[in-house]
């Protein structure tokens, strides 16, 4: 995210019209540049209009339409949205326990994945940023990031193959054995919620390591030495010096791990058995396929609101500043 990168103050007011008097010849580009120098607002509008127009029309426009789509009745016979207004979809989405329960479970899973990612990312990035030999650091951090690009489905598929219990039809085709986990470690959580948490942690872990590593790299080693000199034990240094300074980095990383887990439903489907609707996304998707488009639209307001609230909360923790 753009805001994570450092912000250098004072660059906004660059391109000062110096050297104006020095040059006499007038090449063709000259007039254009003089025009834009005199019309900074026009230059800004020219730069800003295409991307903002695109995102407002295509994206924000669609989100607004989505909210409206939730307000229409469904024709019970044709199963198409009609044009008459109703609040029933919203009521169903926000008050029915069967729905709210899945939302709760999904938020808990996303929070659990975030906590697991944090638990793995903290020691790993601390080692890479502070303890590993200097020549190894870049290679190590790149090795952590590379799996991000190996393909989302590929990784989901890999977990489906690895988690497969013995005798499962997915693994048993042609041979009787189980997947990698069961034959190497003799144990597999099988397809289910544990598998979902494991696979999601695997998918989004690098997003947590990267900002924490960047935050630790900026942390002056003198601070750690000072804490040690003043008699703080490692755990105390960690709690009172490192953690407060790392909070914005952790918040930034958690945006990825939390929001990506919250909305995910394809990999969770791959690592669960058949009809289980573990994640809210699966729930929305099956409602859409029912087909009940207005109700599905009302359901999507849940993740929409949760993520926007989460983004604002993390902004307060400093996730968008200097991370």
């Amino acid at each position: 995210m753009g805001e994570r990168l450092e912000r250098v103050p004072g660059i906004e007011t660059s391109v000062v019209p110096v050297g104006e008097a020095a040059s006499q010849p007038s090449p063709p580009g000259r007039n254009v540049s003089r025009f834009f120098r005199g019309h900074r607002r026009l230059a800004l509008a020219g730069l800003l209009t295409p991307p903002v127009f695109w995102l407002l029309v295509v994206y924000i426009g669609s989100l607004v339409l989505l909210v409206f789509a939730a307000l229409f009745k469904l024709d019970p016979i044709s199963q198409k949205p009609t044009t008459s207004f109703t609040l029933d979809n919203l009521r169903a989405s926000f008050t029915e326990w069967s729905v709210v329960k899945v939302v709760f479970r999904t938020v808990l899973i996303a929070a659990g994945v975030t906590a697991l990612c944090l638990a793995v990312a903290l020691p790993t990035s601390f080692f890479i940023a502070k303890l590993a030999p200097k020549w190894m650091r870049r290679g190590l951090i790149v090795s952590i990031l590379l799996p991000l690009w190996a393909g989302y489905l590929v990784k989901g598929y890999a977990w489906r193959a690895m988690l497969s219990p013995a005798g499962n039809s997915f693994a048993a085709e042609g041979s009787g054995g189980g997947g990698f986990l069961v034959s190497v470690f003799g144990w597999t959580p099988g397809y289910g919620r544990t598998g979902v948490i494991l696979a999601l942690t695997y998918l989004w872990l690098p997003y947590m390591v990267l900002p924490i590593y960047a935050g630790l790299e900026r942390l002056p080693p003198s601070l750690l030495d000072a804490a040690g000199d003043l008699g703080a034990r490692p755990m105390r240094t960690f709690r009172t010096v490192i953690m407060p300074l790392l909070l914005p980095s952790i918040a930034a990383g958690s945006i990825f791990t939390f929001s990506l887990s919250l909305g995910d439903y394809i990999v969770p489907q791959l690592v669960t058995d058949g009809k289980q609707r573990v994640m809210f996304g699966t729930f929305i998707n099956s409602t859409l396929g029912a087909p009940n488009q207005p109700l599905a639209a009302a359901y999507t307001l849940w993740p929409l609101l949760i993520i926007i609230a989460y983004l604002f909360a993390m902004k307060r923790l400093g996730a968008f500043e200097n991370v």
Binding site: S14, S62, L140, Y152, P234, G263, A296
Partner: protein
């Protein structure tokens, strides 16, 4: 912190375990792609390149692969133009609503794919009446390009703005002091500065689009299939297990060097979306 030898070893072991955790699943799939048995059971039995030959010769995956490449190229081109314009506007100017614009850039990737997907699907399927003329976007190649470009903008934007922030404004002033006008400064100073960031952003946007499945599912329509869609559709068919293994391995072999290159070009941590 007392960097005792023990804590260093413990943390080093944890790091090694993390790397093993990250790479084992990918190695397992790569090994299964040359497995003689038509299965994901472990341990694999013998090895063969037959599945690779079969994947190469079957029309479905190849067509899906080409579709993915076409969509990713078009979406990347749009995203690079929009993201670069946005980055220059945000870096060179301060204006009212600047924070809102940066929020707007990030939103398509911060919101879950299913929200973006359903929202766009809903819009594309609608008849849009503008008074003078009405139309509906419909589904197919073009709707996928629009959808993918929307969430790829932020990647191009991030890479370019990170580069602009890191480069000194003195360069522009020096160029102006030496009598260069704005177009010359752009051609000789600014463009060479951001060129590698553009390449890196382009690669990452391409990878993001190529890999995307959720928004794709909602905006592709019935007649158009990308490679991730083909893989997803054939997961559950036992006959295709080996071919899926091959394609998964193929995707890793192609994308990991590209990602490495993008990391190198973007010069550090600015590369991830």
């Amino acid at each position: 912190m007392g960097n005792s030898r023990l804590s260093k070893w413990v943390l080093g072991l944890i790091t090694a375990a993390t790397l093993a955790f990250l790479y084992t699943p990918m190695l397992v799939v790569a090994r299964l792609s040359i497995n003689k048995a038509n299965s994901v059971a472990w341990p694999p039995r013998g090895w063969t390149l037959n599945w690779w030959r079969e994947a190469w010769n079957s029309a479905g995956p190849r067509e899906a692969f080409l579709n993915s490449v076409k969509v990713a190229l078009a979406a990347t081109a749009i995203a690079l133009v929009l993201g670069t314009l946005g980055a220059f506007a945000m870096q060179r100017f301060s204006f009212f609503g600047r924070n809102a614009v940066s929020f707007l850039m990030v939103l398509p990737i911060a919101l879950p794919g299913i929200v973006t997907g359903i929202a766009l699907q809903n819009t594309f399927s609608r008849r849009i009446d503008l008074g003078l003329f009405d139309f509906s976007v419909g589904f197919g190649f073009h709707s996928l390009v629009v959808a993918h470009a929307t969430f790829c903008v932020v990647v191009a934007y991030n890479n370019v703005i990170a580069r602009l922030r890191r480069s000194s404004p003195n360069l522009l002033e020096a160029s102006a002091d030496l009598g260069a006008h704005a177009t010359q400064t752009f051609r000789l100073i600014t463009f060479p500065l951001v060129r590698s960031a553009l390449v890196a952003g382009g690669i990452l946007a391409f990878a993001l689009s190529f890999d995307e499945i959720v928004v794709t599912t909602f905006t592709a329509g019935a007649g158009f299939q990308t490679l991730p869609q083909w893989i997803l559709a054939n997961f559950s068919r036992p006959r295709f297990i080996p071919v899926v293994n091959v394609l998964a391995t193929f995707v890793m072999i192609v994308s990991i060097p590209l990602a490495w290159l993008a990391q190198k070009l973007s010069g550090g941590s600015g590369g991830s979306p």
